[in-house]
Amino acid sequence: MDFSTDVQASVLAVLPEILMTILAVALLALDVVWPDARKRDLGYVAGVGLLAVIGVMLVLAPPPGEVSDQLLLGGMIRHDQLAQIFRAMVILGGALSCLVTMGVPRLQHRGDFYAVLIVAVVGASLMSAAADLIMAFIALEMTSITLYLLVGYLRGDVRSSEAGLKYFLFGAFTSALTLYGLSLLYGFTGETNIYRLGGVLGRSDLPDGAVAVSLALVAVGFAFKISAVPFHFWTPDVYEGAPTPITTLLSTASKAGSVALLMRFFLAVFPPAGLLGALEGVKDYSALWVQLVAVLSVVSMTLGNVLALVQTNIKRLLAYSTIAHAGYILIGVAAISTDKSAEGAAAVTFYMFMYVLTNALAFGVVILFANATGSEQIADFAGLSRRSPWLALAMTLALLSLAGIPPAAGFVGKFLLFRAAVDANMVWLALVGIINVIIGLYYYLIVVKVMYMERGPEDGRPVRVDTPYVWALGIAAAGVLLFGTIMVSPLVDWATEAARALYILL
């Protein structure tokens, strides 16, 4: 297996990252040059800049058609449709986070904040495309370290600092374990490229235990990033303490990038026998991770949903909901090994896309509301539908999407996930998922009820919605609604195409 050395293709493969780096540097420069009064517009530069990067990427840098041309930069990057769609959602998550930052009084003027945020997005974007152990680790750390910073950015705020420290300690610990797992894999095979590694690993006569240990160690890092149980402990505290735009980023870009890497890594390193590109006589280790992922999925869904039932703070509620959603996503991941029609991976990709939009919408409303009332308590959402009917409707749409009720995109997402599970002969996993959907619906509806049924003390006063919010919430809401109804088809097709790329191991 040779790596393509085409220079132009190599540059195009990392074009979005190059552009984002330029954008981050430009923001730092503008931060110095622009007068204070204008600095809030830095958010526009960052947000709109990122949206433009998506546009440029989609137009100028489509992945090469031939699989052999897709492994670029010495095999560090695989430039395929999967990388493309996950980059799109990662950058979209970043852009929406930048736009909603413009409503946070202590952050909106800080060019450095936007710049660091964009670097985190660059890391997540590289994760979507990483095809090498080294690249994967660098990308992971690039998002992690910037996010440690961002979570603790509000230095005067005790909760934010505490969250930052907590995230850092947890992250450092799991990073170390992951790195150990990666080094074991390298030691076993002498390869760093995941596609080569898979072939060598399958043909070696290593004891199953050794492979299982390295797999489990690597999985720790992924589980931490997507906040799957039992590596979820940081999630509620960090989600609550971090500046809300960063909570948005954590639950969108960082999560999406990790999911992409997780799928690519497991399928390439431990390919199921019979997969296109997996060679004859290669040992099949896929059962190991399928079982692991299925177990993680069940405990994440159940624990996340059950603990969410008792939350009174909206950010904590969404944190536990994100743990539950990690579980749903893992249903799809567990299903990817057994089907060659790529349904599982397509379902995960679609789900992640809609989840990015949905969470950006939900957290956007939370920020607006927290600014207006100074509270993040669910009880204080009372009467929101009378104060700002559109805001309440947007929040409702987000919650319905999370709960998986049409017309929001979450319905199609869940439908595809359960379909994949049934197809992979994991009806039991689908049934566990369904029980969880019902638990989930309960607490999402409680929030809806508070907004619509109860009366608040300030019924008459509308919540102020600034222009950047109109854009951010508008984009997210339109996405959630359209990808759940008339635009389902293009996104499903794109996700399916992306998922197919995953199964071609060269």
């Binding site: 049934v422 959907v437 809806v448 619509y452 389902v488 499903v492």
Partner: protein, 535 residues
């Protein structure tokens, strides 16, 4: 890509959605505009529905049934999500067409009845229209993904309507209970549906997976679902999954012991929503159970319906008995719905043309009747501010038209000849007496004595109990002494209310004196199902 497109059914679905969007865009103060737009929207939909109902070609349907084909009128078929095998495929058969009319009637009269709602009128009307659209979607769906999409779409406006405008005392509890019950049922049915989809798709051998009813029906005809479900079990797919699908959807039809959400939900909902809720929403469950359960899994039906009919018997008798015990006017009607919906499921379980046609007629008749009931209850409650039966009385003096309407509804409910109730219930009992077209599969001792005859005799008791509770309510609420001091200002009903009551009564009488307007149509829809069952 468009395959066929007549546009009528898509119009029926989209008009209410558009109406809802327009209403939401209105300024908050323009309550009358919201009401008028809602009335116009549902009016247009009613006209379209009448067009569907009277334009349905019974002869063509019968001819198709002879050939063993599935017939749908007014088909709209557009490719939607091709990679998953989902298309925007709508159409009505002989069972769905009356349901479309029923939904349109309940929607239009519901808007008229809700004219007096002052609290957030705009949102009320918008959610109500969305609910109506969701309900329509289920009846006109040929693609089962579309069916499922709208089934769930109906849930969330329902929740809002109850939780915001419902009866303050129980709305929170009732709305949540109803939503969770329906969702549990529907997702269980969804898993069953997915199983059918994969079995049918795998059997094509070309990887041609599809949620289209025709494709699944073809698989059912080819016996795909009669194969063992998996290596570890000898039980066929049909027999293993029939209970999940039938009872999963049956939750919404109020099948005992999963009926519990329905009286609470009916009572907590505002009047118009109760009308849709008991009148139409419960039919969604019955309709989907018939469409996906019985028609696609005839073998499962023959194995399981002989015991499920026992559940429906409990519905009929027990529901009526509980209705008799209620002091709350609205709960009486709520439990009467449980009882009457039991007759619908019982009609399905007869598994012959007569009984199933009766069930179809009962769906329509009960829908109109119960909408009328809830409208009457709402009108009395709005003026008396109590629904405690013993403390009401003599309302015929103040609200004569409401009394007349309620009595007509009561007669329908008792199965009085000349009204739709008789036309619907009589065939159910006749069908029950005859028993299934083919011997049911003996998982239950149906052959040792006249099993179906015995069920019919016990179920007939339900009719007598119904007469008892209806007459009790009529006597205590509308006749007797009127307490002027307690109810000092009982206003007349508005012209909107009169129109609504008139429309509903008209259909009950029309169907009673001239059943031919609907019975042959339903029969044409039932025939293919019965032929699947071996008839």
């Amino acid at each position: 890509m468009v395959i066929t497109f007549s546009g009528v059914l898509t119009g029926i679905l989209l008009v209410p959605v558009l109406g809802a969007v327009v209403i939401l865009l209105l300024p908050k103060e323009q309550k009358d505009a919201a009401r008028i737009i809602a009335a116009v929207t549902t009016g247009v939909v009613l006209l379209l529905a009448l067009g569907v109902f009277f334009g349905y070609d019974v002869n063509a349907a019968n001819a198709a049934a002879e050939q063993g084909e599935v017939y749908f009128a007014f088909e709209d078929h557009v490719k939607w999500i091709e990679s998953v095998g989902i298309s925007w495929h709508l159409g009505v058969d002989g069972i769905a067409a009356p349901m479309v009319l029923l939904t349109a009637l309940a929607g239009f009269t519901g808007v008229l009845i809700s004219w007096g709602i002052e609290d957030r009128t705009r949102e009320f009307m918008a959610f109500f229209l969305l609910l109506v659209a969701g309900v329509f979607g289920v009846f006109v769906a040929v693609d089962l993904f579309v069916l499922f999409f709208f089934y769930e779409l109906a849930i969330f406006p329902m929740y809002f309507l109850i939780v915001i405008w419902g009866w303050a005392k129980t709305r929170e509890y009732a709305a949540m209970k109803l939503t969770l019950y329906i969702l549990v049922g529907s997702v269980v049915a969804l898993v069953g549906l997915l199983v059918l989809y994969f079995k049918a798709g795998a059997a094509t051998g070309t990887g041609d997976y599809s949620f289209d009813f025709r494709a699944l029906h073809a698989a059912a005809q080819a016996g795909v679902f009669d194969q063992p479900f998996a290596d570890w079990t000898g039980v066929s797919t049909a027999r293993l999954w029939f209970p999940a699908i039938f009872i999963g959807f049956g939750v919404l039809a109020g099948v005992w012991p999963f009926h519990n959400w329905s009286p609470d939900g009916h009572v907590a909902a505002p009047t118009a929503v109760s009308m849709i809720h008991a009148g139409v929403l419960m039919k969604l469950g019955a309709f989907a159970a018939l469409r996906v359960g019985v028609q696609l899994l005839p073998d499962g039906a023959r194995a399981h319906l002989p015991w499920i009919i026992f559940l429906t018997l409990i519905n009929v008798v027990y529901g009526a008995l509980i209705a008799m015990r209620q002091r709350d006017f609205k709960y009486v009607i709520g439990f009467s719905s449980v009882s009457h919906m039991g007759l619908v499921s019982m009609g399905f379980a007869t598994m012959n043309v007569t009984g199933m046609t009766g069930a179809g007629l009962q769906m329509f008749s009960h829908g109109v009747m119960t909408a009328l009931f809830f409208a009457c209850v709402g009108m009395v409650y709005d003026r008396a501010h109590t629904r405690d039966i013993p403390s009401l009385g003599g309302f015929v003096q103040k609200l004569p038209l409401v009394a007349v309407a309620f009595i007509v509804g009561g007669f329908v409910s008792m199965g009085m000849p000349g009204l739709s109730g008789f036309v619907a219930e009589f065939p159910i009992f006749v069908g029950l007496w005859h028993g299934p077209v083919t011997e049911p599969i003996a998982t239950w001792p149906t052959d040792s004595f006249n099993y179906y005859g015995a069920i019919a005799i016990v179920a007939a008791l339900g009719i007598i109990i119904t007469a008892a509770y209806v007459l009790r309510v009529v006597g205590q609420v509308f006749f007797g002494e009127f307490d002027e001091e307690r109810f000092p200002a009982v206003s007349r009903i508005t012209v909107y209310d009169k129109i609504a009551l008139g429309i509903l009564i008209f259909w009950l009488v029309l169907l009673g004196v001239y059943p031919k307007v609907m019975a042959p149509m339903i029969e044409s829809g039932v025939k293919p199902i019965v032929s699947m069952l071996g008839g």
